[in-house]
């Protein structure tokens, strides 16, 4: 019995001792000083890379019309909504990408057909004239018309991208509009 106990402890010691030796006696955990940090958006701007130059220019113009800059506030332009959507749509499933690509094609095609200019170069009146499909009632089932579907999708996406931006929220929600706010975030479960 004694002999068995001896072997048990002889086996246990070498496995544990080197690690204990390295660590030394238990110490109090060092308290790390807090550091103020910035974010990428604080110091840099997003580089559009998904949409073509023509598509991105049309989307930027559309975003500024959908959510214009209120006096002293933040609109799609200040929130860099188009740049954010370039990132988001670039990572999205193909179906969502097609909604944007076909819609932007349709928007530019109509601009060239009616005004011989791309959408981003149209006057306010001309641009708004091409956005008339947004006067149709929203329906649960997406419109079969690519331009209508795109405009309805972009209207919602640009508003969300704007209202949930840091610029919009730190500006107090742009006047009367509701800021994205604060939510209860679930961390990944272990």
């Amino acid at each position: 019995m004694r002999r068995r106990k001896f072997f048990a402890s002889a086996v246990a010691v070498p496995a544990a001792s080197p690690l204990l030796g390295q660590q030394g006696p238990p110490r109090q955990q060092a308290e790390l000083p807090k550091l103020d940090i910035g974010t990428a958006d604080d110091v840099a701007s997003m580089q559009p890379k998904y949409f073509s130059a023509g598509h991105f220019a049309a989307l930027s113009r559309l975003a500024e019309i959908l959510v214009p800059t209120p006096e002293g506030g933040v609109g799609a332009k200040e929130a860099k909504a188009a740049e954010f959507l370039d990132f988001l749509i670039g990572q999205s499933p193909a179906e969502r990408q097609q909604v944007y690509l076909k819609g932007l094609d349709a928007l530019n095609a109509q601009a060239k057909q009616k005004h011989q200019k791309p959408f981003e170069s149209l006057s306010e009146v001309q641009a708004v004239g091409l956005m008339e499909p947004l006067r149709k009632p929203w329906t649960y089932e997406p419109s079969p018309d690519p331009l209508t579907r795109f405009l309805q999708t972009a209207k919602a996406d640009v508003r969300t991208a704007t209202q949930n931006s840091k610029e919009f929220n730190l500006n107090g929600g742009g006047g009367a509009r509701r800021p994205g706010g604060v939510g209860m975030y679930w961390y990944p479960l272990g």
Binding site: I65, L66, V67, P68, P70, F84, L88, Q91, S92, P93, R96, M131, L134, R135, K136, P137, W138, T139, Y140, E141, Q152, K155, A156, D157, R159, T160, A161, N164, S165, K166, F168, N169, A176, R177, G180, G181, V182, G183, M184, Y185, W186, Y187, P188, L189, G190
Partner: protein, 524 residues
């Protein structure tokens, strides 16, 4: 300890498993409970964050949870990862299977709407001739509803409605808003009753197995709760033909484990329970396991309207605000008053502001329109009774396994003409009611979301008197294997329009008491 045999093994820790544990442990039975997910510490698992700190500005990572429309970037991690535990369906027949794996299951996140089924559901075939009756009636289950209601602290207002039996309520004596009263008056013409939403108050803002059932079960000293145990296959003793335990995978280490028990209670949630039985190749002498998949056909914002007197923030005190419930109102008198059978219910709220998409404008004009509608909204969610049809089913996809090597489910489910016609008529009737009440209807939608959206999946392991046409008997006991019980929503014979949690709990309690009585007599 490792070779200990428990009296009862409970698979799943949500509303049904929690009720089984609560009941069985109080009756003195030694129980083990396995749960696929972790025990979550809310303090450590969640934290407040501004939306702009999220990588996708609240949109969520594209493609992460393609079937979970309830997910957003804040709560994305609370749902089962579809890449870890996938399922399959024909792309043209989508099914939204929404799952939670953590101790407490979906009862951690449910809307807490707490209704009872009636004999319109239990004896539906008697009423309209379709499908099967349940092998039990409302009278059989009422005593158990009466014991579940106080645990969950269900609030409500008694109405004496045959189609929505009253419970033992914490009385909801809040006054109805003027808008609600107008709806109630206008709805009478269509046979509608407007009542309070019946809701579990629970404690501390939570009405879950996690805080209302499991603590009591553990306090008996009779429950061993084991999180992170992913059920693979129920084991059958070749000599007796009885269940004798469960093979499971320890989630974090992926070790293969086996636990022994005299009785097995499956409460893994409707479709996980059926998946486990199908993968175990048991309890299916009837051939109906996996069939008769139902839920409630669901349309959020089926009718959106404005209360004109409340526009521009001019609502007088008591004009709008609060929520209400319109129980099923169609086909109550005879089997088929309409072009369809059964019916639809609505819950509604008043007093908010409709989403921007309902206004055909943009820019400043849109902002002005939303401002004018501020506080004047009426919006209703529709939930329709989906018929039990053999062809709506799940089966094992033999070519796809999850991250644990367990074969996944394939869905074959779609709504039929009855559901589509029911939703169309019901939404039109509600819109007409709104107009009669003097509201301005600005949007209607009568197209249900894809099946599964309501997160009320039911059936696929249904109960019945005939072992050739059902999987379980009237006590949720397998016809084929006497010591095997399935106590969740998979046992439903009809779906009804009512949120099912209270019925699931009542059935689980009833089955557990039957189980304990039989076990004490060595009859399992």
């Amino acid at each position: 300890m490792a070779s200990q045999e428990f009296d009862v093994l409970i698979i799943g820790s949500g509303a049904s498993g929690g009720t089984a544990a609560y009941t069985l442990t109080k009756l003195g039975l030694k129980c083990a409970m396995v749960e696929a997910g972790p025990l979550v510490d809310f303090e450590k698992s969640r934290g407040l964050k501004p939306v702009y700190e999220l990588p996708y500005r609240g949109f969520g990572k594209p493609g992460k949870l393609p079937h979970v429309f309830q997910a957003n970037e804040f709560n994305a991690n609370q749902w089962v990862d579809e890449k870890e535990v996938p399922y399959t369906h024909d792309p043209k027949m989508p099914y939204n299977w929404v799952r939670v794996r953590m101790v407490g299951g979906k009862s951690l996140f449910w809307a807490r709407m707490s209704f009872r089924l009636s004999d319109y559901e239990f004896k539906a075939k008697d009423h309209d001739g379709f499908g099967e009756n349940w092998p039990i009636s409302y009278a059989d289950l009422a005593p158990y509803y009466d014991r579940i209601d106080p645990i969950f602290r269900v609030s409500g207002r008694k109405e004496g409605l045959k189609q929505l039996p009253d419970g033992l309520f914490v009385p909801d004596e809040s006054p109805d808003s003027e808008a609600t009263l107008r709806m109630a008056r206008a709805g009478k013409e269509f046979g509608m009753t407007v009542t309070k939403i019946r809701r579990s108050l629970g404690t501390g803002g939570l009405a879950s197995s996690r805080n209302l059932l499991l603590p009591d079960a553990i306090a008996t000293g009779n429950l061993t709760l084991v999180p992170n145990a992913v059920a693979r296959e129920i084991s059958i003793d070749k000599n007796t033909g009885k269940a004798n335990g469960l093979h499971f995978v320890e989630r974090q280490s992926r070790r293969e484990m086996f636990i022994k028990a005299k009785v097995v209670v499956v409460a893994a949630s409707c479709l996980e329970s059926t998946r486990l039985l199908l993968n175990s190749k048991i309890a299916n002498s009837s051939g109906v396991l996996g069939h008769y998949l139902m839920d409630q056909s669901y349309i959020g914002n089926s009718v959106v309207a404005l209360v004109p007197e409340a526009k521009s923030g001019k609502a007088k005190r008591g004009m709008v605000g609060g929520a209400g419930y319109i129980p099923r109102f169609a086909n109550l008198k005879s089997g088929k008053e309409k072009k369809y059978i059964r019916g639809c219910a609505f819950d509604f709220s008043t007093g908010g502001t409709p989403d921007a998409k309902y206004f055909p404008a943009w820019g400043k004009e849109l902002e002005d329109m939303q401002m004018a509608a501020r506080g004047a909204s009426f919006s209703a969610t529709a939930m329709g009774d989906v018929l039990p049809r053999f062809e709506n089913r799940v089966e094992i996809n033999k070519t796809v396994v999850d991250a644990y090597g367990i074969p996944v489910l394939h869905f074959d489910c779609t709504y039929g003409d009855n559901e589509l016609e029911m939703m169309k008529d019901s939404v039109a009737t509600l819109a007409e009611t709104c107009r009669s009440a003097g509201f301005e209807v600005i949007h209607t939608n009568d197209k249900p979301y894809p099946p599964g959206y309501s997160i009320h999946e039911l059936g696929t392991c249904r109960m019945g008197s005939d072992p050739k046409r059902s999987v379980l008997n009237a006590y949720n006991q397998s016809h084929d294997i006497k010591n095997l019980f399935v106590v969740d929503g998979s046992s439903f014979v009809t779906a009804g329009t009512q949120n099912p949690t209270m019925t699931i709990c009542a059935l689980a309690m009833r089955a557990s008491e039957y189980l304990a009585a039989k076990l004490s007599k060595n009859e399992l």
